[in-house]
């Protein structure tokens, strides 16, 4: 009985949290996008003194970058420097 009640409360809370979850995830994603821009700003012509080092992150970022350009409505990678697809 108590377990059931707990489950009901959980579901109820989940219902409340649902739209919030989306919103928080969206803001986080935007922060990630800005981070991506900071790392690879050189590729779009903004000078970046630490580009040499950020380039080391390339293998880790490539999948995220692929998601990003798909999300932005570009079928293929817009930057010739990053060849994800």
């Amino acid at each position: 009985m108590l377990d059931r009640l707990k489950r009901i409360i959980e579901i109820y809370e989940e219902i409340l949290r649902m739209p919030h979850r989306t919103e928080i995830a969206r803001e986080l994603r935007e922060e990630d996008d800005i981070f991506l821009l900071l790392l690879y700003s050189e590729m779009i012509g903004i000078p970046n003194p630490v580009y040499y080092y950020t380039l080391e992150l390339y293998p880790y970022m490539i999948e995220k970058f692929h998601d990003w350009h798909l999300r932005m409505g570009m079928e293929k990678s817009p930057l010739s420097g990053i060849r994800c697809c």
Partner: protein
């Protein structure tokens, strides 16, 4: 007649509708497939597309679509007696609203979770989409004007509700920050906020000084207001201006800060409200005193009944929620039946209690007839009657009348305020989209779009001289709100029919309610625009005439375009769903 019996009959039909009819529609018409990869899985990005448990998705869907409209419509439509309203709510939910909400969800799931507007573009072309956008625009414009008036009206009639409603704003912001910045749990803060609000309601109901009664401050109903408007007119103007300033901020702030926390509190209120009313019904065991039908109405029920009760029987607004949001989070395609159809059923249950609350309020049929002496009296007094009736039901649980009246009015105001927030935000997006479509850059800016939205809504609420004097323009356009809402529903049903036809599936289940809804809507519109609001009509009103004619022309245009498409005169372009490339 016993009200509990009516409630049981209504719920039984709704349950049967879900159990059998929706099963038939799901299996034989939409042919839902449990193995189909839904957009939530296919495009899972952890943000918009997330597979979600069907119970949770239903809860979210229901709380998004349930608002003040399913309460207000039936409370007015009781003018024609309780039986027509009851039948339309129940049968409309089973055969029209359920299929519509479920159908828009299903079609959206098969089209990458796109909104019904985008699907319209795919099915009937760009012109169709723009017409569709304009209809949605007028719809939300009217929602804003109507609900601003509704809230102002409740604030003036129940001054004790003002303080608790305004206390909700800082509470919501507090929850927003607590959850967003400090990752607190949501349930407890929102329950505390609800408790504080109701405590404020009890205090405000008890102590006069907490009741913000603008009319009293200006010397009572016969007092003098500003600009020669009289006290009531001035109070309306002040409240509408305050509300418009509020919605400007509410719809431009990040949603997590104000809009969503308010939604949490309101979800509790929905549960509390429905719980109190149905339990109260059980405890008070009231008898329906309202007559079953009205023998001599001054306004014919056909077609106006079907327009007056929009939400609660069928509402195009639901399609916007179904197709834009819920479709992106559906875990399995077969869940669409549970989420969409039961979402409409939930709304029907809300409309049902609204009918019962008003139908049991009066001592006898004569008292009812006095309150509902004419259609305009029903329009003006409908919501007040619901608040009174609901507080009588709540009285069955031992809640003192003055407190329950305050709490019920807070619940209604909260619903209306959320609808207002959402509608202004939606209007802002649509204005921006139209701006982008026609390359008008300034319109795509957030504050410009919001200003246009807020100012036009305020103008519509304030400009027409309504039945209850200044500021009641909102009620005048209630039928117009109903028509554009139904129109949207009709167009959505038509889109689903086109889509089904292209799949070579029997489309009668969507075509029949579509023809019914479209016929009633266009009939009502034609009658009102060209016989009532026209300059030689009974209720000549230029503003309503222009607005009504514009919607009427849009409606006829989009219907003709869609019918052409339906008959296959346009080339079929990439309208196929993703089933083939699974």
């Amino acid at each position: 007649m016993n009200a509990i019996l009516v409630a049981i009959i209504g719920m039984l039909i709704l349950a049967l509708g879900y159990r059998y009819y929706s099963k038939f529609v799901a299996e034989k018409i939409f042919r839902l497939d449990p193995n189909y990869v839904t957009p939530a899985h296919r495009y899972n990005d952890g943000v918009d597309y997330i597979p979600t448990n069907k119970l949770i998705l239903w809860g979210h869907h229901f709380t998004s679509v349930a608002g003040a409209a399913p309460i207000l419509g039936p409370a007015i439509a009781l003018y024609w007696g309780w039986l027509p309203a009851f039948l339309w709510v129940i049968l409309g939910t089973v055969f029209a609203a359920g299929v519509h909400d479920f159908g828009t969800l299903a079609i959206s799931v098969r089209n990458k979770g796109q909104s019904i507007g985008t699907i319209a573009e795919k099915l009937i072309g760009r012109r169709g989409k723009i017409l569709f956008l304009f209809i949605i625009l007028t719809l939300v414009l009217m929602v804003n004007a109507v609900f601003a008036w509704v809230i102002a009206n409740l604030f003036i009639s129940y001054p004790a509700s003002v303080f608790p409603v305004f206390i909700q704003i800082p509470l919501a912001i507090w929850i927003g920050f607590a959850v967003y910045k400090r990752k607190a749990k949501m349930l407890l803060p929102s329950l505390i906020a609800l408790g504080v609000m109701y405590l404020a309601a009890i205090f405000a109901a008890e102590y006069q000084f907490l009741q913000i009664d603008l009319v009293q401050y200006m010397g009572g109903e016969n007092g003098t207001g500003l600009f020669g408007l009289g006290a009531v007119g001035t109070a309306f103007m002040i409240w509408i201006i305050i509300l418009m300033i509020y919605v400007y901020f509410a719809s431009t702030l990040p949603v997590w800060m104000l809009l969503q926390p308010r939604d949490f509190i309101n979800s509790h209120q929905l549960v509390v409200g429905l719980g109190i009313l149905y339990l109260g019904l059980l405890f008070t065991n009231p008898t329906i005193t309202a007559p079953a039908t009205n023998a001599n109405p001054d306004t014919p029920w056909l077609p106006l009944l079907f327009i007056t009760i929009a939400c609660g029987a069928i509402s195009g607004f639901h399609g916007l929620v179904s197709s834009g949001t819920s479709a992106k989070q559906l875990n399995k395609e077969t869940d669409a039946r549970f989420v969409g159809y039961l979402g409409a059923v939930g709304e029907g249950i809300l409309a049902l209690i609204s009918i019962l609350a008003v139908a049991t309020l009066f001592h006898n049929a004569d008292a009812f007839k006095e309150a509902y002496s004419s259609f305009s009296a029903a329009n003006a007094g409908g919501l007040g009657n619901f608040v009174e009736g609901a507080s009588v039901l709540a009285g069955g649980l031992g809640i003192p009348a003055h407190i329950s009246v305050t709490i019920v009015s807070i619940i209604v105001v909260s619903f209306a305020a959320t609808t207002l927030d959402t509608a202004v935000r939606l209007m802002r997006y649509i204005i921006a989209e139209i701006g982008a479509e026609y390359n008008v850059q300034p319109l795509t800016k957030k504050h410009v779009a919001t200003s246009v939205a807020v100012l036009s809504s305020a103008a519509l609420a304030i400009l027409p001289e309504g039945p209850s004097g200044f500021g009641s323009g909102g009620y005048l356009i209630w039928p117009l709100f109903g028509t554009s809402n139904q129109l949207l529903a009709g167009i959505s049903l038509l889109l689903i029919s086109i889509w089904l036809k292209r799949k070579c599936i029997n489309y009668a289940v969507t075509l029949i309610p579509m023809i019914f809804v479209m016929f009633m809507t266009l009939y009502a519109m034609f009658q009102q625009v060209f016989f009532e609001w026209i300059w030689f009509g009974n209720e000549a009103n230029n503003l309503l005439f222009v607005l009504g004619s514009v919607i009427f022309v849009f409606a006829v245009w989009i219907t003709l375009t869609a019918i052409q498409v339906f008959r296959g005169k346009f080339e079929q372009e990439n309208v196929d769903d993703e089933r083939t490339d699974k």
